[in-house]
Every structure is written in structure tokens, then in C-alpha cells.
Symmetry: C2
Subunit: 559 residues, 2 copies
């Protein structure tokens, strides 16, 4: 034991974890936590749900209270205390007590910086109007909660279609509020790839969200009692509540002023032990850069579970332990109404930016056995390194079982598995939970088929491009007549049901570029095999089937 003096800046996720872990490692250390807000250790991820009453009581959000924490961990917790300066030379921090206005200095042997992140405020007029809020802290939430109770807003605008923006939008809709979401990117949840994101956009639009994409708020105004949000595309949206959820920025100012190294990703640079370039100073949570386990490069990953892990390591290491944080695969999940969307590792776009030539696998199956009631569609997109087969990333959308599949994939990516490994996993199967061919297994199997040269898939995006650039392309729909009539076909597709393909094979021209598709990709794969073995050499099959095709369809007429 060290008997060291440990000062921690920030007492929410990383800071509270650090304090508790430091105490568990060192009964003699003197530990002080400075927290700018009134509460410590609250559930940031639960804040949107408290607005709608899904989480009924504010108390539920408090993982622990300062008094309780002080007693249990023998930690001095100073809420409403903001640290304003780090004096590395003298190993002291200066603080201001916002309750009294007094300031003071606190010496440290080891300092842990964990002040989190702050919402980005768009540089537009009107962000200071009284009906405009951010949602990052419990106090933010209290203010919105009060606004909801007192003002009973009926129209809200959410700026930003990221995680916090959409979760907040959902919870406002639960309250009967009409919600518009303005997003600069062309698709919601911009960390997802567009075709996956677009499916979620369509689902959540049906649930009541009004989207204004590829647009940006230019001003927020008040005219009489009426709030107005104006956008670049000329929209004028009425709003008696505006939530700014345009992203976050790591709180690095203190560290920066103290001369600690800030990285290119914009966070405090730490090693695997959460130590900054000053050996007496550690940092953890939203304010640091962490390693992306796929690229090996630093990234900002402002997630609660990450903050807890980093804080735990920082707390232990500040009192002499050696706990590593290896990094993160970048797993993100969000539930919106009935649907859940999740991502881990790199998106297709990120993989391309890293210089990979990605192989894309799209799988659409039911989340559990089709013969058991309640099976729901689940879509899995896997992004692999075309050369090695290594899984680089994955995205999953569905109503049930999304969290399971993304966690299996996150585990696979951590273990640096190839796509084919997914086929060899021994996943649990009972009718309520999966099928003999789990979507993860299917992803591995279609990957194995790809790497073995059994088929040539084409992704929805690639097909979209090919239809524009290769006039020699012929689309072949191999579904049943009934299915085709029900959904329509991809424009200009011809239709031969799979079970007639062998006998009608002479109707097809071997010199054309044929692209087969069906509902989910299984029959088009079979069709591909039939044609291939009959001497067709310019054929591809649409990965994931028409179910993963998000572009407009046309009504099918004829045979």
C-alpha cells in the first residue's frame, strides 16, 4: 500500500470507478474526488428514458450517492467543485467551490483526469434561448424534465441523429410530442453504413420520427410564444423544445493547459495503463484516446462501459497496480421503438478509408427458428478483409436478438477471427433463441462459399453502381410469382422462379452480365450454382437478397 494522495477530477463513470478501485487496492491512500455537478456516479445512458418515464424515478439514475460513496470507500467527495488548473510543477490542482464561490488548492501524489465530454453546440444563433437544451448531464435532464412538466411542449426539434439524439427523440414521442430530427449527414446514425441505416430510418419514420437529412439548422428563433427552427434547406420547423445532440467533444482543456499530450483524434493521450505523458497523471473516460482494436489507431470512444473499464484501470494503476486496457472494437447499440441497431469494428466506409478492399456479406434470416412463433427478421452485414478473410466490422439490425449477434461478432473481432470461423462457432440453439442455422453461422457459411469460389456475390451498393455503369447487366429474379407480385422487382429484372430455372435455362444469354437475386439470398445462390455449372461465367448473386436492397422497386408485369 502506498498511503498516497490520489486526486480525481470527475465523479461520474470513469472517476467513480477509479476512486472505488483505488480504495479496493489501497486502504491507506487518501482519495479526493472533485465533481463539477451536484451528483456523482449517475447513469448517463439512462437519461433519455427518464424524460418519458420509462425510468420512472430520478433516484434510479443515481448509481450511488456521494454520502454513501464516502462512507463505503472512505473517499472525500466534493460535488459542485470544479478543478480549474493543474499545476504539474507543484503537483496541485486549483478548484472553485460553486456552492460557496471559494477557491483552493489540493495537492496530489497521483492525479486522475476524468472530466468526461461536453455537447457540441452548433455555431448558430439562438442556442441560448430558454427552450433549447443539451442532454449530457443529470442536471441537463432535470432542466428538460422541468420544461416538459411546466410547458407541455407539443413540437420538438432534435438536432443530430446520433445515439443521444435518436434515443431522446424516441422518448419525446412516447410523451406524445411531435418530433423532427435534423441531421447534417445523409443518413441517421452516421457511424453505420448508409444502406443499413436507411432501413432503420424507414422503420423509425413509421414510428413517428420526421427526418430532415442532409440538412443543418441555421438558426433557432422565438416569435412571440412560438419557437422556430430554420434549416439550410429552407425548412421552418415549429418547436417549443429543441434538443441539441450534435455530438460531443472531450473535455481536454485542463490537460491541454497543463501541457499534457493531446492526440490527433482530439483526446488526451494515454498508454495502455491509462498513464499520460506525465507519470504522476492518469486519465480515463470520454476525455482520452483509446486504441481501436481493428486498426490499432487511437480513437475517441465516449461510451459508458469504456469509461468504467478505463477508470478502474486508472484507479488501480495510480496506487501501483498494472492493469491494462487493451482498447475497444467500437461496439455501439441503440434501441429505437421496436428496432435495434448495432455496430462493431469498422464500417464499410471506415474499412475503405483504412485502405482495405472489403468483402461484404449481407445475411437476412429470422432471429430464431421459423417454425417457432415470433421469429423476426434480423439483418447482419459483415465487413471483411478481402485478402485475408479477417472480420473488420459488422452491423446488425432487427427487432430481437441484435445484441446477441453483435456481441458474438465483437468477441470474434477481438479474437481476430476470419469470416469462416463464424461457421465453426458452436452457438446455442433451441427454438426460442436461434435456429439450426443462426445468422452468424450463415454469415460464416456464405463467407466460406465466397472464399472457396463457390459464388460471386454483389453487394447492394455495388449492384447500384453496376446498373448505372454496365449496360450489359441483366437482373434475374428467381423468387416465386407470388412474392414478385407482392413486393415488385428491381427495375428491369426478368423473372424465372428458381424451380423452373433448369428447364428454362436456354432463355438466358451467357454473354450478358447476369445478377441473380431472391428474397434473402439463398435461392439466388442455388441459382448461381445451377447456372455456373451450366457454363455461365458472367454471373453474380445479390448478397442478402431483395430484403437488403433499399432502393426503389417497380411493379412487376408479366410472366
Amino acid at each position: 500500500m502506498s498511503g498516497k494522495k490520489i486526486v480525481i477530477i470527475g465523479g461520474v463513470a470513469a472517476g467513480a470507478s477509479a476512486a472505488a478501485k483505488a480504495r479496493r487496492c489501497d486502504e491507506e491512500a487518501s482519495i479526493v474526488v472533485f465533481e463539477k455537478g451536484k451528483d456523482i456516479s449517475y447513469a448517463t445512458c439512462g437519461l433519455p428514458y427518464y424524460l418519458s418515464g420509462v425510468i420512472a424515478s430520478r433516484k434510479k439514475l443515481l448509481v450511488t450517492k456521494a454520502s454513501f460513496f464516502e462512507k463505503r470507500f472512505q473517499v472525500s467527495v466534493r460535488t459542485q467543485h470544479e478543478v480549474t488548473t493543474i499545476d504539474r510543477q507543484n503537483s496541485m490542482v486549483e478548484y472553485i467551490d460553486h456552492a460557496t464561490g471559494t477557491t483552493g488548492w489540493e495537492p496530489y501524489d497521483r492525479l486522475i483526469i476524468a472530466p468526461g465530454s461536453s455537447p457540441l453546440i452548433p455555431p448558430i444563433p439562438g442556442t441560448d434561448l430558454p427552450f433549447v437544451y443539451t442532454l449530457k448531464t443529470l442536471e441537463d435532464t432535470d432542466r428538460i424534465h422541468q420544461h416538459l412538466n411546466e410547458r407541455k411542449p407539443t413540437k420538438a426539434v432534435v438536432i443530430g441523429a446520433g445515439l443521444i439524439g435518436l434515443e431522446t427523440a424516441e422518448n419525446l414521442i412516447r410523451l406524445g410530442i411531435e418530433v423532427s430530427v435534423v441531421e447534417m449527414a445523409s443518413h441517421i446514425l452516421p457511424f453505420m453504413d448508409r444502406e443499413m441505416s436507411d432501413m432503420l430510418r424507414d422503420h423509425t419514420a413509421q414510428d413517428g420520427l420526421n427526418y430532415y437529412l442532409s440538412d443543418a439548422v441555421t438558426a433557432i428563433r422565438q416569435t412571440g410564444d412560438q419557437g422556430i427552427v430554420e434549416t439550410k434547406n429552407g425548412e421552418i420547423l415549429k418547436a417549443d423544445l429543441v434538443i441539441m445532440a450534435a455530438g460531443i467533444k472531450p473535455n481536454i482543456e485542463l490537460a491541454q493547459e497543463a501541457g499534457l499530450t493531446i492526440g490527433e483524434a482530439g483526446g488526451i493521450v494515454v498508454d495502455k495503463y491509462m498513464q499520460t505523458n506525465d507519470p504522476a497523471i492518469y486519465a480515463a473516460g470520454d476525455c482520452v484516446e483509446t486504441i481501436n482494436l481493428v486498426t490499432g489507431k487511437p480513437m475517441i470512444f465516449p461510451m459508458g462501459a469504456a469509461a468504467n473499464k478505463q477508470g478502474r484501470a486508472a484507479g488501480a494503476n495510480a496506487v501501483g497496480r498494472n492493469i491494462k486496457v487493451k482498447g475497444f472494437t467500437g461496439t455501439v447499440i441503440v434501441k429505437l421503438f421496436k428496432h435495434t441497431s448495432a455496430k462493431t469494428g469498422l464500417s464499410e466506409r471506415e474499412a475503405l478509408a483504412e485502405g482495405y478492399k472489403p468483402y461484404l456479406s449481407y445475411v437476412l434470416t429470422l432471429h430464431h427458428a421459423g417454425y417457432y412463433p415470433g421469429g423476426k427478421d434480423i439483418r447482419v452485414k459483415t465487413i471483411c478483409d478481402n485478402d485475408t478473410g479477417r472480420i473488420l466490422g459488422a452491423q446488425v439490425i432487427g427487432q430481437e436478438g441484435v445484441d446477441k449477434r453483435i456481441d458474438i461478432l465483437a468477441t470474434a473481432i477481438y479474437a481476430k477471427m476470419d469470416l469462416e470461423d463464424l461457421m465453426h462457432l458452436d452457438l446455442s440453439y433451441a427454438p426460442p433463441y436461434s435456429s439450426a442455422r443462426d445468422p452468424i453461422f450463415v454469415s460464416g457459411a456464405v463467407g466460406q462459399n465466397f472464399y472457396a469460389g463457390e459464388w460471386s456475390p454483389i453487394s447492394p451498393g455495388e449492384l447500384h453502381t453496376q446498373l448505372k455503369t454496365e449496360k450489359n447487366t441483366v437482373l434475374l429474379d428467381v423468387r416465386t410469382k407470388r412474392e414478385v407480385q407482392k413486393t415488385g422487382v428491381i427495375p428491369q429484372a426478368i423473372h424465372i422462379p428458381i424451380d423452373e430455372l433448369r428447364e428454362r435455362i436456354d432463355e438466358l444469354d451467357k454473354t450478358r452480365n447476369l445478377v441473380l437475386y431472391c428474397a434473402i439470398g439463398l435461392r439466388s445462390y442455388l441459382g448461381f450454382r445451377i447456372l455456373k455449372m451450366n457454363g455461365f461465367n458472367h454471373i453474380k448473386a445479390l448478397s442478402g437478397g431483395i430484403g437488403c436492397w433499399t432502393y426503389p422497386l417497380e411493379t412487376y408485369i408479366g410472366g
Copy 2:
């Protein structure tokens, strides 16, 4: 393409997968499937649910029909055809057509043996009585279904508390039938470890199951209209329906008579390509031995997902491909009423039998964030190699999220991860799905603490033994007074709430063997750290807390 003649014995899971895959790989092969029963490719795992109407229609159970399969895959499907002899010398099989009684011979270039397994019939009188059934095939299920409809049984006895026995029992209870389950082992789901299984026993007993454990049926009799089941322990159970679910045996007779190698685990020996010792003959499904990926040894693993994978590989390889089946970690899951129980890898008992000195980790948390409504207890037991930290197996019980955790663990075991790796996984966290400290993360963290020497855990089983053998043991309950009064304590425990431990530390005797416990293991771990750092050297903490202690508690009286 080979244009070979492929004969497949069996058309349910492995056989149908083999036929479809062989066709996808070889358009010219001639493929014949012999199936003893009337249907092919049906959902064996769904059969119990059809009895109660959870799966409402028999049609749902048919993954495909013979006529459809013949058309799509150009396969000759011969139902009600039983293969009776394999003549390896002449590469032919003899069959009998049960519909007509005629017999014949069919030549093959490659043979795939996939006849599945059969129920074990206990060697007792009365198994041929008309109200006694097995539940293995769709035809078995039809017979039970008819019995249910015509005889309206009110009392049933299920022989065997394995997967099929308990799933059937649950579905009979749904029909309002009183169900007794007789099991030879001392605990239900004998593949689980006892203390985990006992929790499920208690839950399902509350759901209405009557268990007779460490008992065996000695006779089934009929007296007038009344069926009677007699047991070794002297029970006389009324029953107008008896289901024999005492296990299965691989159907190896044909292979054995043909001189193919049968292994010590009792199945047909195949290599990773599903090839038997005769290069022209493959085998797949319940009848083969497969590699246990933890031990590297052969095992029988009669699961639907395994049969599909093996059949797929056998079908491909029979026409010249080289698809491997690496083996299985032995993942099993079962939903019983509100609870789900799952296992992967080795149990504690199996790990001991393999010569490992296992480290056991018990974790009890909520399946999602405690502040979000609906969180349910989830228990994770992890069995590791004490020397290397490698995860050997895991068991999970809970109401929600069990399938996810067991699949993450199965993936981790496949990747040969250590317990500490679980802490580094980047698992998805949003309030509806997990918490910042997922039970998998916690398992990794407590494991890291163990391997770093931060604490000395004791498992419930070890504590039970220690209480008998080490009279110097003192139990220390560190929960609140209210909790202690609510549940009672482990007999003879003394009680000091965790937040009073520091100030009351002098009440404790450093020379005694102290075992701390709390509700889930978190506070006892903190207490352990406090005592350790105050010079206590003979201390342990109960892994998983009193929540994983399944032995009787006593009412706590006093301070």
C-alpha cells in the same frame, strides 16, 4: 463436377443438408436419399412445442416436403425406405420399402450415413403399454398428439430430466396436465453442475413440475383404466401418459455391421471431413463422434445445429470438396417456463475428470442495467484452468439474456481465451440490453482479481466442504441488517455490515479462517480487501454471494 452416384441414408437434419449441399456443389451428381420415416427435413427441436400448441400446426415443423425437395434439388427422395445392409465390397446398399414390403439394392459411388439416433428404452416392464411413448421423430409426436386429443390425459410421467424430457414436461403442463419427472441422477439436466441445476429445479418446481430425483422407474403397469409408474424409491405414480426421455443412442448398427470403425464414445468414427475409415463412405449427425474443442477428444453431440453442419460438409466432400468440421464446444440451451439454462464447454465435474484443477467463478448480476425497468437476475458460472486461466466451460441461468452470454462464452472458448480476456471484450451496452458492467465483463474482472492475487474466492461447493472439515471456519455476512433478516444467513454466520467493517474490525479474530459473503459477491470482495490490508491472512470470499448458495439458510437472530 463428378456425375457421381451419391446415396444418403437418412433425410432429416444431416441427410437433407448433405443432399442439398451435394447438389449445390455438383449439378451432375445423381443423388438418392433413403428415409425410414414418412417425412424428411423436419424440425426435431420443435416437436415438444407442437404437443402444447405453442407451434400450432404440424406443417410448421416440416422444413421442406419430399416433393419440393426433389424438385428444387433434383434429388430422388425415398421415404419409408429403410436401408438394411451396406455392402462395401460391391458399393451397394440394400433397402426395404415399408410401404410395399419390397426390397432392393442401390449402388453408390459415395455413401453418406445419417440415420440419426434412437431413444434409449429403459429395460423395465411395461414400456410397450399403449400410453407409453418416446418423443424422437415426427411420427412419435403424431402418436402422442393423437393420444392427447383422444384420451385427454390428466397425469403424465416423464422418464428422464434431460433436454427432451423437460421440454416435453413443460409443454404437457401448458395443457393442464399434472407432470412428474423421474430422473436417475441427483439433479436435473445432468450435464450441468449440481448447484446450477438445483436453482433451475427450484424454479421449475414452482412452475409445476414434480421431481423424483435419484430415483428410477422400475415398472410401468396398467390396472383397469389406470396407468401406474413404480420407482426404485417406492413411489407409485398415476399416469395416463408416460414419455420415455432417458437419453439417446446413435444409430450405428448399419455402420458396425459393415465393419466401419466405431469409437469409444459409441459413434461412427469420422475425420474432420466427415469421412469414415472407408474413403467412399461419409457419416454425419447424431450417429458420429465429433471432436470436443476443449478436450480434443471425441464425443457424441446429438444437436440439430451440429447435424446440419456435419451434413453440409459430408455432402460437399462426397462430391469432391474439402470442407472441415472442426468440432464443437458442446453448447446446449433449454428454455423452461420463464427460465433459461445453458452450458458450453466442460462442466466443473468434466473439468475435474479431465485432470484440470479448475478455478470457478460465480457471478450474479442483472441481465441489463439496474436503472432500466425489467432487469432480471442472471447467473454465470465459469470454469477455468487454474494454471493458465484458459476458459474450459461455462453455465448460465436466468430469465433473459442467457442465450447471449452463453454464445459469447462459446465464442471465447472457441478462440481459446483466458478468463481475463472477457474483461477486454467490447460488448454492446445500452440500458435495455446490458449494463456498463455486463456479467461477462464482471466474470473477467473477478477473474483478473483472482489471478492477480487480489482476492481468494471460495466456491459454494468448497465452502460446503470447508464447513464440514475445518472447524476453525468463521462465516462473516457483510450485508445490511435488512437483507439478513429477509433471507436468513448461512448457518453460524456472524454479521457485520460492510459499512461498519472498518470500525468493528477488532471484533474479528485474525487466527480464524474467515469466509466473507454478501448478496452477490461485490461487498464481500470489498470486505476481503479491507481485511487483507489490515493484516488478515486466513480469509476467503464466497464467489457469487449468497445468491449462488443453494444450501439451506437459517434465520438470523441478533445484532
